[in-house]
C-alpha cells in the first residue's frame, strides 16, 4: 500500500436521503448499462466543471479500467473537497441543480446508482490546491440487506460506510470511483467489450475520425456548443461510430412555436435499403440529452404510441444515421433515462419528433424513387452513349470531304436505334417514365436522333427527290453505273411511296435492292484502270447470282440470313460496292433482328461528327450529278456519260489518295 488513510468522523442523517429513491435503487430499477452511464456521467460532469472553472482541458480522458472483479472510473475533473465528499454520499439530494452550467446528473442518484449491483463502492478524490485526498467507502450489499420499509436509515448506514483522508500533492485533481465485486449483471461491468459497447452507445464520446462526415459533424457540434469527452476503456479510446455508407449530410432543427427544441443531423444510406450495423456502428437515430443517449435508438418512432397520431413508418429510420439533440433543459429524462419525464412540453416534443420521423420516412421513399430513376437514367444514358459512339463512328467514316460510306449494318443499326429512341421519346412524353425525362437523357436522345435522321435523310430523300419516277432508270438501256444507281433509287422511291424513314422496306424490296448499282466487273476494271492495287479499297463483287435487279426483270431468290451475313462482311471492306449497296441497305428494318450489331472499324481519318458538318453519301453525290446532267445535257448522252465517268474517276482518285 502506498497511501496511508486516516479515518474521518461522519454520520448519516435523514437529510442525506431522498424519499423513495433508496428503495428504488435497492430494488435495482436501473438497468445495468444505465448504472455504468450514471458513473460516467458523474465523471463527465466533473470534466465539464473543470473546463468551466479553468477554461482548460482536463489532464487526461475519462478512464474506465475493467479490473477483474472491479471496475474503476477515473476522471481528471474538478474533484471534491471534504465537504463535497460528505455531501456526495447523499441520496436524491443533488447539488448539481444549483450550478450554472448544464450538467447531466440532476437526480441525485450519484454514487448510489450501483447500490444493488455491487458489493462495495470506493470513491477517491482530491481537488487542486488541497494537499489531501479523500476516500469514501460504502458497503452496498450490506446496506441493501438491511433496507426495509421500517428500517432506520441511521442504523442501516451505520458501520456500512466510512470516509478517510490521505496525503496527496496539491497539484492533483481527480475522482476515482471503484465498483467492486458485482453481485448481478456482472458481465456488464467485467467484460471489456460490453463496457466499451455501452459507452459507445450512450456516452458523449468523440466522433470517430473515420466517419465520412467527421469534419462536418464536428463543425456542427461546435456550432451548437455540443460537448464531447474523451473516454478510454483499458487505454483504448472510444468513439461514436456511424456507418460511412451514407450520403447527403443534413442538419436542421425541430421547433415548437418557433422555439428550437432539438437540433438534428442525419445522413442517408448510399444505396436503397437498411444499413447493417457493424463494429458498434450506430444505425438509426438516437435522441440525445446533455450528450447522453436517451432510451433506445429511434426513440418514440413506434407506429402506434398511446396519445399520439399513428405513424405510417416502415423502418426507414434504419436507412439513416443521425442524432437529435434536445435543447431545452425542461425536457428531462426519467430516472431510468429510457424516455422523457412526462409533461406538456414533452408531449409537444414527442409529437414533433414523430412528425420528424414521418418526414424522414417520406424523404427516404422519395430518395429511393429518385435513386431508382437515376440508376435507370444512368443505364439508359450509358446505352445512348453506345448508340452515339456508333453513330459517330459511322458518321466519321468519311471517305471524301462531305461523303460518308454507309454499310447495310450501319443502316440496320440506325433504323433500330432510331426506332428505340423514338419509342423512348414517346414514352417520355406520354407516360410517367421519369428516367426518360431526365434532361441529360433527353438531350442525348435528341442529339442522337438528329444525327441518325440526318444520315438516313441523305440516303432516302435525295434519291426520291432526284428521281421522281422510276421510269427514268428502268427505261434506260444504259447499264452504266449511274443508271444502275438510278434504277435502285427508283426502286426505293417506287416501293416506298410514303418515303417514310420510319417504314422499313419490305423483304421484297430488300431482295430487289440487293444488287449493286456498280457492276463488280466494272469496279474491278476501274480499280485496275487507276493502277492502284495497294491503297485502293478492295472491290469485292457481291454474289451476282443472288442479286435481283427488278429493273432488269431478273428474279432471284429471297435473301437468306446467311447470305446477308456473308454480304455484310464483304461490304464492310468494299468502299465502292458499299456506296452502291447503301441503297439496298437503306430500308432493312425487317432484317434488324437478323443482323447483329457488330461494330465496324472506323476510319482513322474520321474525326468530325455528323452534327458538325453535313456529309453526303457518295451515292447521293453521283445521283445528284446525274440528275443535273440529265436535265442539262439530255440530248448529249455521250457527253453526259463522259462527265459522269470523269466524276467517278475523280472520286476514285480521291479515295485512292486517302
Amino acid at each position: 500500500m502506498n497511501k496511508q488513510y486516516r479515518s474521518l468522523d461522519d454520520k448519516f442523517s435523514i437529510e442525506d436521503v431522498g424519499s423513495t429513491l433508496l428503495n428504488h435503487l435497492a430494488k435495482g430499477l436501473y438497468p445495468a448499462d444505465e448504472v455504468l452511464r450514471e458513473y460516467i456521467q458523474n465523471a463527465i460532469d466533473a470534466h465539464r466543471l473543470w473546463r468551466h472553472e479553468t477554461d482548460t482541458e482536463p489532464d487526461g480522458p475519462i478512464q474506465i479500467e475493467v479490473r477483474g472483479d472491479c471496475l474503476s472510473v477515473l476522471d481528471y475533473g474538478i474533484g471534491m473537497d471534504e465537504r463535497e465528499v460528505r455531501r456526495v454520499k447523499s441520496i436524491a439530494v443533488t447539488s448539481k441543480a444549483d450550478t450554472e452550467i448544464d450538467l447531466t446528473g440532476h437526480k441525485g442518484v450519484g454514487v448510489w446508482a450501483g447500490l444493488s449491483f455491487f458489493n462495495i463502492l470506493t470513491l477517491q478524490t482530491t481537488k487542486r490546491g488541497l494537499n489531501k485526498g479523500y476516500r469514501l467507502t460504502i458497503y452496498f450489499k450490506k446496506i441493501v440487506d438491511l433496507i426495509s420499509d421500517r428500517a432506520d436509515i441511521g442504523q442501516v448506514m451505520k458501520d456500512n460506510y466510512f470516509i478517510e483522508e490521505y496525503n496527496e500533492p496539491e497539484e492533483e485533481h481527480y475522482t476515482i470511483v471503484t465498483l467492486q465485486d458485482p453481485i448481478r449483471s456482472s458481465e456488464w461491468f467485467t467484460e471489456v467489450t460490453r463496457v466499451r459497447d455501452a459507452i459507445q452507445r450512450i456516452c458523449p464520446c468523440p466522433i470517430d475520425p473515420n466517419f465520412v462526415f467527421y469534419r462536418k459533424l464536428v463543425d456542427w457540434y461546435n456550432q451548437h456548443d455540443l460537448e464531447m469527452f474523451r473516454i478510454e476503456v483499458d487505454g483504448i479510446p472510444i468513439y461514436r461510430t456511424f456507418s460511412s455508407a451514407v450520403e447527403q449530410f443534413k442538419t436542421s432543427s425541430i421547433t415548437i412555436n418557433d422555439v428550437v427544441v432539438a437540433e438534428y443531423w442525419h445522413a442517408i444510406h448510399k444505396t436503397n435499403g437498411k444499413m447493417t450495423p457493424t463494429n458498434g456502428q450506430q444505425v438509426g437515430f438516437r435522441v440525445v440529452q446533455s450528450g447522453f443517449t436517451l432510451g433506445e435508438l429511434n426513440l418514440y418512432s413506434e407506429p402506434m404510441l398511446a396519445g399520439f397520431k399513428a405513424l405510417n413508418v416502415n423502418n426507414y429510420a434504419s436507412w439513416y444515421v443521425g442524432e437529435v439533440h434536445i435543447v431545452p433543459r425542461s425536457l428531462r429524462p426519467n430516472l431510468q433515462r429510457n424516455k422523457l419525464e412526462e409533461s406538456e412540453d414533452t408531449r409537444l416534443f414527442i409529437h414533433r419528433l414523430r412528425k420528424f420521423y414521418q418526414q424522414l420516412e417520406d424523404t427516404a421513399r422519395d430518395t429511393a424513387d429518385k435513386r431508382n430513376n437515376a440508376e435507370k437514367a444512368r443505364n439508359i444514358l450509358s446505352k445512348y452513349k453506345e448508340y452515339e459512339d456508333k453513330v459517330n463512328s459511322i458518321s466519321n467514316r468519311e471517305i471524301l470531304i462531305g461523303l460518308v460510306q454507309l454499310t447495310r449494318d450501319d443502316i440496320d443499326f440506325l433504323y433500330s436505334v432510331k426506332h428505340r429512341l423514338e419509342t423512348d421519346e414517346q414514352a417520355a412524353e406520354t407516360k410517367k417514365v421519369v428516367h426518360l425525362k431526365d434532361p441529360s437523357v433527353k438531350k442525348t436522345r435528341i442529339k442522337i436522333l438528329g444525327n441518325i435522321r440526318l444520315l438516313l435523310e441523305r440516303i432516302e430523300q435525295p434519291i426520291i427527290n432526284i428521281h421522281g419516277n422510276h421510269e427514268l432508270s428502268t427505261s434506260s438501256a444504259s447499264t452504266s453505273k449511274s443508271q444502275n444507281l438510278s434504277s435502285q433509287a427508283n426502286a426505293v422511291s417506287s416501293l416506298e411511296p410514303e418515303n417514310s424513314i420510319d417504314t422499313p422496306p419490305s423483304n421484297e424490296l430488300l431482295s430487289t435492292l440487293t444488287s449493286s448499282p456498280f457492276p463488280s466487273e466494272e469496279k474491278t476494271v476501274e480499280g485496275e484502270k487507276h493502277g492502284d492495287d495497294v491503297a485502293q479499297p478492295k472491290r469485292t463483287m457481291l454474289r451476282e447470282s443472288s442479286l435481283t435487279n427488278e429493273a432488269e426483270g431478273v428474279t432471284t431468290p429471297q435473301f437468306a440470313k446467311e447470305d446477308i451475313s456473308e454480304e455484310k462482311e464483304i461490304m464492310s471492306t468494299n468502299v465502292n460496292s458499299t456506296v452502291a449497296t447503301d441503297l439496298h441497305e437503306t430500308s432493312s428494318d425487317k432484317i434488324h433482328s437478323k443482323l447483329d450489331n457488330s461494330s465496324l472499324e472506323t476510319s482513322e481519318k474520321a474525326k468530325s461528327s455528323i452534327g458538325q458538318s453535313r456529309k453526303i453519301p457518295v451515292v447521293y453525290a453521283i445521283g445528284l450529278l446525274e440528275d443535273v446532267l440529265s436535265s442539262e445535257l439530255s440530248e448529249d448522252e455521250d457527253l453526259r456519260l463522259g462527265i459522269l465517268t470523269k466524276f467517278r474517276e475523280r472520286i476514285d482518285k480521291v479515295l485512292l489518295n486517302g
Binding site: 500500500m1 502506498n2 497511501k3 496511508q4 489532464d59 487526461g60 480522458p61 478512464q63 479500467e65 475493467v66 479490473r67 477483474g68 472483479d69 472491479c70 474503476s72 477515473l74 477517491q124 490521505y166 496525503n167 496527496e168 500533492p169 481527480y174 476515482i176 471503484t178 458481465e187 467485467t190 467484460e191 471489456v192 478510454e232 483499458d234 487505454g235 483504448i236
Partner: protein
C-alpha cells in the same frame, strides 16, 4: 503521500537506470531493430518505464495491490503509455504460472478468472518479452513454508514462459541484502563448488571468497557475496536447458544488489542431458564485474569495482 516502497528511489538507483540499464536496453533494441516489450513489477510511479519509454513498445505490469494498480493506470495515462500497458492485477507467482502453462492446460485455470483478467493473461501470453525487470523482496532460494521459495517459483515460471517464446531477453533483478535465506545460499554455493571440485577444478579461492563468514571480504558484505554467486549461478542452472546466460553486470549500492543478465536461446544442440555447470559458461558468469555505486560529498555518484575470484 507516504511511500512504503521497499525499493525506494535514490541517486544511485537513478544513476544505474540512466548509465547502465538504459544502455543495455538501447543496445538490445538496436540489435533487434525494434522497440522492446517489457515485463515487470513497476512501482505506481513507473519510473523505470518512464525513463525507458522511448525504447518500449509494450508494458506488462503485474501488481496485486488494487490501490497501486489504480495509480499505475493513472500514471500510465499521464506518461502517454496507457494504450501500451497491460496491468495484471494478481500475485506475481500466479501470473507467471498462468503465463508458463501449456495451452492445453490453461483453459480450466482461465475459466475461473474474471473475463478481463482472462483477456489480459491471454493477451500477454502472446507477447514475447525482451526485458524482464523484477524487484524481489526476500531471498529466492530459501524454501517457503510450503516448499520452494515463491521467488524461485516465479523465476522458474518466467524462464519457462520465455523459453516457450524462444526469445532472447534481458533479466534485471534487484534484491535487498537484508533479506533472509543465507543458509540456502550457502548450501547452493557449497554444492556447486563441490561439484566443480569433483571435476578437478581448484575452487579454493572461490570458496574462500564466497563462503567466508567475515563481515567484509573485498568490501563486500556476506549477503552481497552470496547473491553475487547465487543469482547468476542459480538462474544459469534453471535456464540451462533452454538458454545460454551471460552477465552484463552487477551493481551494489546501499543495501541493494542489482544484476542484469542476458538470456539467449541455446543454438545448435540442446543442453539436455549435459552436466551443469558447463565450465566455460560458468567461469564467464563468475568473472562478470560488479560495481559499487556511492554518492560522494558533492552529491555525485561514483563507481568502484568490487573484485572477486573466478574459476582458474
Amino acid at each position: 503521500m507516504a511511500s512504503d516502497n521497499p525499493f525506494p528511489e535514490s541517486a544511485e538507483k537513478n544513476h544505474l537506470r540512466i548509465f547502465h540499464l538504459q544502455h543495455a536496453l538501447a543496445d538490445y533494441c538496436e540489435s533487434i531493430g525494434h522497440p522492446l516489450s517489457y515485463f515487470g513489477l513497476p512501482s505506481a510511479e513507473m519510473r523505470d518505464v518512464e525513463m525507458w519509454r522511448p525504447l518500449l513498445s509494450h508494458i506488462t505490469a503485474v501488481e496485486r495491490d488494487p490501490d497501486v494498480a489504480l495509480r499505475m493506470y493513472r500514471n500510465a495515462q499521464k506518461l502517454g503509455i496507457r494504450d501500451k500497458t497491460v496491468v495484471i492485477e494478481m500475485n506475481l507467482v500466479e501470473a507467471t504460472k498462468l503465463l508458463a502453462m501449456e495451452d492445453k492446460e490453461i483453459e480450466l485455470s482461465l475459466a475461473l478468472l474474471p473475463s478481463s483478467v482472462r483477456d489480459r493473461i491471454t493477451q500477454v501470453r502472446r507477447v514475447s518479452h525482451h526485458v524482464v525487470n523484477l524487484d524481489l523482496c526476500g531471498g529466492f532460494l530459501y524454501p517457503s513454508d510450503r516448499g520452494e521459495s515463491e521467488n524461485a517459483k516465479l523465476l522458474r515460471n518466467l524462464i519457462n514462459f520465455q523459453a516457450k517464446q524462444k526469445t532472447a531477453f534481458l533479466l534485471i533483478l534487484t534484491f535487498a541484502l537484508r533479506d533472509t535465506g543465507k543458509d540456502d545460499y550457502d548450501s547452493f554455493i557449497t554444492e556447486t563448488l563441490d561439484h566443480l571440485n569433483k571435476l578437478g577444478i581448484n575452487t579454493s579461492a572461490l570458496r574462500k571468497h564466497y563462503t567466508s563468514t567475515r563481515s567484509r571480504v573485498a568490501e563486500q558484505p556476506p549477503n552481497l557475496r552470496r547473491l553475487r554467486f547465487c543469482v547468476p549461478g542459480y538462474l544459469h542452472k534453471i535456464a540451462f536447458d533452454n538458454f545460454q546466460v551471460s552477465s552484463l553486470g552487477a551493481w551494489y549500492y546501499k543495501t541493494f544488489y542489482h544484476a542484469i543478465l542476458f538470456f539467449e536461446p541455446r543454438k545448435g544442440r540442446s543442453a539436455l542431458g549435459k552436466a551443469w555447470p558447463p565450465i566455460d559458461e560458468f567461469k564467464e558468469l563468475l568473472s562478470a564485474p560488479m560495481t559499487r555505486l556511492k554518492v560522494n560529498g558533492v552529491g555525485e555518484v561514483i563507481e568502484e569495482d568490487l573484485p572477486a575470484p573466478s574459476l582458474p
